[in-house]
């Protein structure tokens, strides 16, 4: 590809070979933009305080989890209300490996993913027979069962007393502060997003999408429904397990209270608000839902200097805002933030000819 003026608008994609055709980003400007964002992300701890980095950690972990749920719900069309519990499986699996077996963290992280994938696959078996609401209730059962097991399997999980985890160690570094943990989360997050992006350019990903769009038609075309549905559950749970392992080692103490159905619902909200069936959507959704209470609180604090007592009113509104946001998105933009962002980009790209 010739080096073009990076500041011109893109007006279409013209490629002359397959290599260019496979690329993620076509114009120079887009590539530069990605490089700039990466640079900003890697330098975040330099210009942002520890507090912002700690928020970034929460956001990063949420992104990995919501990517996982989006693979299942957004791309394969299998609903799951059990992701809070799968998060717990990942956290406890990693915790058991590092705290009780004494193995290093770099083994525990993928192992937690694999164990959660296995558990997720088992709970995914009903998906062959059940669809929609029925499957939702079956995964809700997973949530209840797993929560019960975590609370009562004292030998492995310490039951309701919770489990202390060591700070993760990688290459001799102990990641016990927010900045060092940030880099771990960031790297895992980038790998997770890259994998998800590429997954839907591959045979498996296309099969997932076919199953979502019309599973009967997909089967007629020769897609093994059982295999791909289970695979979607396993892959999705792998992501969530990794997120759980990161979350557990970030908190350093886990108890059944961390993995309730409220967490599952929050992840579903991320996927819906961000955009079902969109990798970027998962990211936007995770950022949005994690930052929503923080931003509302800051706004309340800002106004409270001018209108005293407004804080108590806005605090009460927080849950209502959360619910209203979901409803508004479902009505006006079911494809979520990812779609809104796309529309904005299209508007500027096509301006002044908006057709």
């Amino acid at each position: 590809m010739r080096l073009r003026n990076p500041f011109v608008m893109e007006s279409g994609v013209f490629t002359t070979n397959y290599r260019d055709d496979m690329a993620f980003h076509y114009p120079m400007l887009a590539k530069l933009r990605v490089a700039a964002i990466m640079l900003l992300l890697f330098l975040l701890p330099v210009y942002a305080g520890t507090y912002l980095v700690s928020i970034a950690n929460l956001v990063g972990i949420a992104i990995i989890g919501s990517l996982g749920l989006n693979i299942l719900t957004g791309f394969t069309g299998q609903i799951s209300i059990g992701h809070g519990a799968f998060l717990g499986v990942g956290a406890y699996a990693a915790g058991f490996i590092t705290a009780k077996m004494g193995l290093p963290f770099w083994i525990a992280l993928p192992a937690a993913g694999v164990i959660t994938a296995a558990v997720g696959a088992i709970f995914g078996i009903p998906s062959l027979r059940l669809k929609g609401l029925y499957l939702a209730i079956a995964t809700l059962a997973a949530q209840v069962i797993i929560e019960f097991v975590i609370a009562h399997w004292d030998g492995v999980t310490n039951g309701v007393h919770g489990m202390f985890l060591p700070a993760p160690q990688l290459f001799g570094f102990t990641l016990d502060n927010d900045v060092s943990y940030y880099y771990l989360v960031l790297v895992v997050c980038i790998i997770a997003a890259m994998f998800a992006f590429n997954l839907f350019r591959s045979r498996v990903g296309r099969a997932f999408v076919a199953v979502r769009d019309r599973d009967l038609a997909a089967e007629v075309m020769g897609i093994n429904l059982f295999k791909y549905k289970i695979m979607a559950f396993a892959l999705s749970s792998f992501y969530v397990g990794v997120a759980g392992a990161l979350w557990g080692h970030y908190l350093r103490i886990i108890s059944p209270e961390h993995f309730t159905i409220a967490v599952s619902i929050q992840y579903l909200a991320m996927v819906i608000i961000g955009g079902l069936g969109s990798v970027m959507g998962s990211i936007y959704g995770a950022v949005f839902i994690t930052l929503l209470p923080i931003v509302l609180r800051e706004i309340a604090g800002l106004f409270s200097t001018y209108f005293p007592n407004i804080e108590t009113i806005i605090l009460g509104l927080k849950e209502a805002v959360f619910g209203t946001t979901i409803v508004v998105f479902l009505i006006y933009e079911p494809e979520g933030l990812a779609r809104i962002w796309q529309n904005i980009k299209d508007y500027f790209k096509l301006w002044p000819f908006s057709y």
């Binding site: 507090y51 929460l58 309701v160 007393h161 016990d176 908190l251 350093r252 209270e257 209470p293 605090l315």
Partner: protein
């Protein structure tokens, strides 16, 4: 050339403007940091050395106001806020005002973690008042690393192991101690040779917290635990569990729940006509549960670690004064207001004892130097030491007579 010059001038002035804006931005942030201190608005005119001593001290609060336990969490937060207001009116801590920044975390652990980091890393709060069992446990690794003394609303015995929880302090008797006091009371006052006791609890960390300790203590003093029943926190029916308990022959039952489930249990027991005598730990016994239970409450005995607002005790005068500042009178308050007030009071006492250098470590030392700290009977006297953060193991037992909680014991322990 003139064009180039003009261009340079534009660039220069732009830089100047940016610099000015950045400067103002910096100024405004320091100003907003001072805003908590509204009484004295001119700290800038004093000498820098003096300024250091009059600067307000931050205090963090992680409260549940809108979440699952908001019914008791909101009055707790109000109590803590009112105490800080009262303290500021009365000269603050060592001449410095306290700037309490309370954050509502809606009983969600990720939000509690975020709130903690904001308070400690951004606001530089040297101490924190927290709330629930789950989030307090989640803070443990952070508070030990950052050296932040932490007083939680949770009274779970696990928080008392100083080796694992070096910065957690508990201002009242733990759930386990409360259960022990009840068992001791049953043993001392029972007509039966061998009192038979049932434990009713819920399947959470909070519910299970005193169970193992209660069983061990019962064995020690020769009280028989004949039955254990799980009743969900949101249960609207406890008939089957109560029938089971009755079959096991329990004369006494100890309840570890919150108000709602306790009301269910007592109402069902009345409906079934059981003659079991019921005892409840502190979250089962307050104004809310009394209202919910109606006449089923008659004769029920509860553990009360904090005074009721209508009680005539020495410390209540300050409470009245403090809440007058927030526009509330005593008859609008409930017992959880007093608990919040008292928790803040203990923390501030530790800060007072920390002296001029208010760091987490010094506050910890200050708290650990407290010996029989009296609050005018709002709660049992509090003592901490370097190897025990158990503020007290004493509680009062109250019985419901004529629809009112009336004390039947003074501060008693189990030893």
């Amino acid at each position: 050339m003139s064009i180039r010059l003009r261009f340079a001038a534009v660039i220069l002035s732009l830089l100047l403007v940016i610099g000015l804006v950045a400067g103002c931005g910096g100024g405004s942030t320091t100003e907003s940091a001072d805003k908590g201190d509204q009484e004295k608005s001119t700290p800038k005119q004093e000498e820098p050395a003096k300024e250091e001593n009059t600067e307000p001290i931050k205090l963090g609060g992680i409260f549940d106001i809108t979440g699952g336990t908001g019914d008791v969490g909101a009055p707790y937060a109000e109590g803590a806020t009112a105490y800080v207001k009262w303290l500021n009116e009365n000269g603050g801590v060592n001449g410095r005002q306290i700037d309490l920044e309370g954050i509502d975390y809606a009983y969600k652990i990720p939000q509690a973690v975020e709130a903690y980091k904001k308070l400690v890393y951004q606001q530089k709060a040297p101490a924190i008042l927290g709330w629930g069992t789950g989030d307090t446990e989640a803070m443990v690794p952070f508070i030990s690393k950052d050296k932040i003394p932490y007083i939680s609303g949770s009274l779970s015995e696990t928080l008392l192991t100083v080796a694992d929880h070096p910065y957690n302090f508990m201002v009242a008797a733990s759930y386990s101690d409360q259960a022990r006091v009840i068992l001791k009371y049953i043993k001392d006052n029972a007509q039966e040779e061998q009192p038979k006791v049932a434990l009713i609890y819920n399947d959470t960390g909070f519910g299970k917290s005193p169970i193992a300790d209660a069983e061990a203590f019962a064995k020690e003093i020769g009280v028989e635990i004949v039955d254990k029943e799980v009743v969900d926190l949101k249960a609207l029916d406890a008939t089957s569990q109560l029938l089971n308990m009755d079959k096991a022959g329990a004369n006494y039952a100890i309840i570890q729940e919150t108000s709602n489930a306790t009301a269910t249990i007592l109402k069902d027991a009345k409906k079934l006509g059981l003659d079991t005598k019921f005892f409840g730990l502190n979250w089962t016994a307050d104004e809310i549960s009394l209202k919910l239970m109606g006449d089923a409450a008659e004769g029920y005995i509860g553990v009360i670690p904090f005074a009721f607002p209508y009680e005539d005790v020495a410390g209540m005068k300050d409470v009245e004064e403090g809440f007058a500042l927030t526009g509330k009178s005593l008859d609008e308050l409930n017992q959880k207001h007093i608990q919040g007030w008292f928790s803040a009071m203990v923390m501030m006492e530790g800060m007072k004892r920390a002296g001029d250098d208010v760091t987490g470590e010094n506050i910890k030392k200050g708290l650990e130097s407290m010996n029989e700290f009296s609050s005018g009977d709002l709660a049992a006297p509090v003592s901490f030491s370097a190897d025990s953060h158990r503020g007290s193991s004493k509680v009062k037992l109250y019985q419901v007579t004529d629809g009112q909680w009336t004390p039947i014991t003074d501060w008693i322990g189990y030893k």
